[in-house]
Amino acid sequence: MTTGQAVTGSKIRWSAINLIVVFFAITPVLWIVSLSLKQPSTFTDGSFIPRKITFDNYLGIFRTGGFARPLLNSIGIGLISTAIAIVLGVFAAYAIARLNFPGRRVMLGASLLIAMFPQVSLVTPLFQIERSLHLFNTWPGLILPYVTFTLPLTIYTLSAFFREIPWELEKAAKMDGATPFQAFRHVIVPLAVPGVVTATILAFIQCWNDFLFAIALTSSDSARTAPAAISFFTGASQFEDPTGSIAAAAVVITIPIVIFVLVFQSRIVSGLTSGAVKG
């Protein structure tokens, strides 16, 4: 019986520890949700829980039109950048994981360099280059840096996954007369889908999160993404604070992340760790 009690005891202890961790992880998020549901008159009560719940802040950000377009930009730019990065990343990662060719290490090194590169160092030259190429404040103007900065992550995650694939199948396909490309297309791609999904999610989260490029390389709603738009929210008048609108918009752009995390928790964990540690 003593072991049973010990197990129960440690279960309680672990539950308590877990509770503390969960509390720290989600309290700040709940606070923004609470803020977004507060009425303007109760913003200054400092209470964690709204006294009276209102959805006016949510209606407001979509009704005034200041948020719908940036949200569309975020989704569109995020999806296109992710798609391009994944396609390019799959090619490169397959080559790195699978083939022996000169420049393999250079490719890995270059990706690593870019992954660690301070984005702000690119902002100045890109600002100037995009101005002269008329790419400033356009979707491609953001998609290009996003693809570049998500590629390293994609290449690392995907090549780590690709190494786990049973390649004997490919060999078999080759023996049956398939060219290397056919083997790649018909045998490996289906096996690689879980890895691709993981890389897609991570890449999308990264694009969705970007702020620096979004504020530096856009000037209006035609390309400005949601995080940048939020930081430019204004109150309706000189005396109205945009707190409620900011909180509501913040919650809206957090929802996709929460859904990803809930649905793909284990994939994200394995993607993050395999990409970074196992290389």
């Binding site: 035609s222 204004t234 000189q238």
Partner: protein, 425 residues
């Protein structure tokens, strides 16, 4: 795995829509709005939040008889944020930027960069006709007119008659009066815009001009900031470390200042006349006790800061002709009266001050006109933004000012900025 058949599962119509949006975004990078329903010319105006500006826009749109339609685009609340957005669009040659409502301090910078159009001919004459000289001067650069004054602004000393029998005339008297109230256990804060932003620069510049000095020479080429300016810094330091200062001085913008005054924490505030309209709307009880006096001086009478806004036409606008016309309407006497009466923004056209409706709403009319006579401008230079950033950084928090050392630092850093050499903090 089966949950996720392929990479982003986007249905076809959605893709088509996306592609449409992309091609639109590519084809017209400077697309500002999707307003395709109107056939005529759209004039995009960029304006900071101003509650009743839309009614002025509506009025001009109906007067335009379809020649143009003004579309209002909102900028952030803070001046730095507004400038950043405008300048970035201009740097990107944004043709969707027709008309800007800008702070008077940006005229030199944008004119020098060639980003705003000069006012000439009939448009220029109509702007100059009947406009007060002080605001008109801030719209010029190198003797050319680059903007049309929309509103002007001066700060006054606002106080509560139930706590303050006679208003102090200098900052020293102001501090003494506040400390006396503190001794009596009464509300005693003097609200001043002391946060690290343009408001702090406004305060500093007003004290420097009140002391008889200036930040830059008249031609804007050289730093002045002489020993008289040190006196201004001494006053700021004395004020900030006295009991007259609100403990949150280093976080006080216009909004916080007025809130503290409305909440009864402060019997004094040094601020623009919008507080009168704001108090009238939100606190009729307090309005009965609200009084005003000239801007406090150093030794003699003070020189109020000069604020205000102007309209300028963007260089890359595709419809400059209509933009000039729209600006002329948006600043005509009737428009200025709406802004003055509803939003508390003092007009730049002299005749509006004699309008009966205006006089009824502006009991402090004479004080404003008087303050305009002696109001001190901020430096007129293309480097204004750099100077402003340096001043607000060096002087924040005001409690930490060490007059002589602070003055030398200001002199050195501003001199560097005038050579495009400094690094902005």
């Amino acid at each position: 795995m089966g949950k996720w058949p392929s990479t982003p599962a986007v249905s076809r119509p959605r893709w088509r829509c996306l592609i449409l949006v992309i091609s639109l975004a590519v084809a017209s990078p400077l697309l500002v709005s999707c307003g395709t329903e109107n056939a005529g010319v759209v004039i995009n105006i960029f304006n900071g939040p101003e509650e009743n500006f839309s009614s002025i826009v509506d009025r001009c749109n109906s007067l335009a008889h379809g020649n143009y339609r003004i579309k209002l685009n909102q900028l952030p609340r803070d001046a730095e944020g507004q400038r950043e957005q405008l300048v970035r669009r201009l740097a990107a040659r944004d043709s969707g930027l027709d008309l800007m409502d800008m702070d008077i301090t940006w005229v030199a910078e944008l004119a020098e960069a060639g980003w705003i159009k000069e006012w000439t001919g009939e448009d220029k004459k109509s702007v100059e006709r009947g406009t007060l000289e002080k605001p008109l001067k801030t719209a010029r650069w190198n003797n050319k007119l680059y903007a049309a004054p929309y509103n002007t602004n001066v700060q006054l000393l606002w106080y509560r008659s139930d706590l303050v029998p006679t208003p102090p005339a200098t900052w020293d008297e102001l501090i003494t009066a506040a400390e006396k109230l503190a001794d009596q256990g009464k509300p005693h804060y003097v609200e001043v815009t002391g946060a690290q932003y343009e408001g702090l620069v406004v305060w500093f510049n007003a004290l420097v001009t009140s002391a008889g000095s200036s930040i830059l020479s008249a031609d804007g080429k050289r730093v002045v900031l002489d020993s008289k300016a040190r006196k201004a810094l001494e006053v700021m330091k004395k004020f900030a470390t006295s009991r007259a200062a609100d403990p949150s001085l280093s976080n006080t913008h216009e909004q916080e200042a007025n809130l503290a005054f409305q909440a009864g924490k402060a019997p004094f505030q040094v601020i623009w006349p919008f507080v009168y309209a704001a108090t009238r709307d939100s606190n009729p009880e307090l309005l009965k006790k609200l009084r005003w006096a000239p801007y406090p001086g150093i030794d003699g009478p003070g020189s109020s800061p000069l604020g205000g806004a102007v309209f300028a036409v963007g260089k890359y606008s595709k419809h400059p002709h209509e933009a000039f016309a729209a600006a002329t309407c948006l600043r005509d006497p009737e428009s200025q009266k709406i802004a003055a009466v509803k939003d508390g923004l003092p007009p730049t056209i002299r005749s509006v001050y004699d309008d009966r409706e205006f006089i009824a709403k502006y009991p402090m009319r004479d004080a404003i006109l008087q303050a305009l006579e002696t109001a001190g401008e901020r430096p007129s230079t293309p480097f204004y933004q750099n100077i402003s950033t340096i001043v607000s950084t060096v002087l924040s928090p005001p409690q930490a000012i060490a007059p002589q050392a602070t003055l030398s630092r200001l002199r050195a850093e501003i001199a560097d900025a005038l050579q495009s050499k400094g690094v902005l903090p």
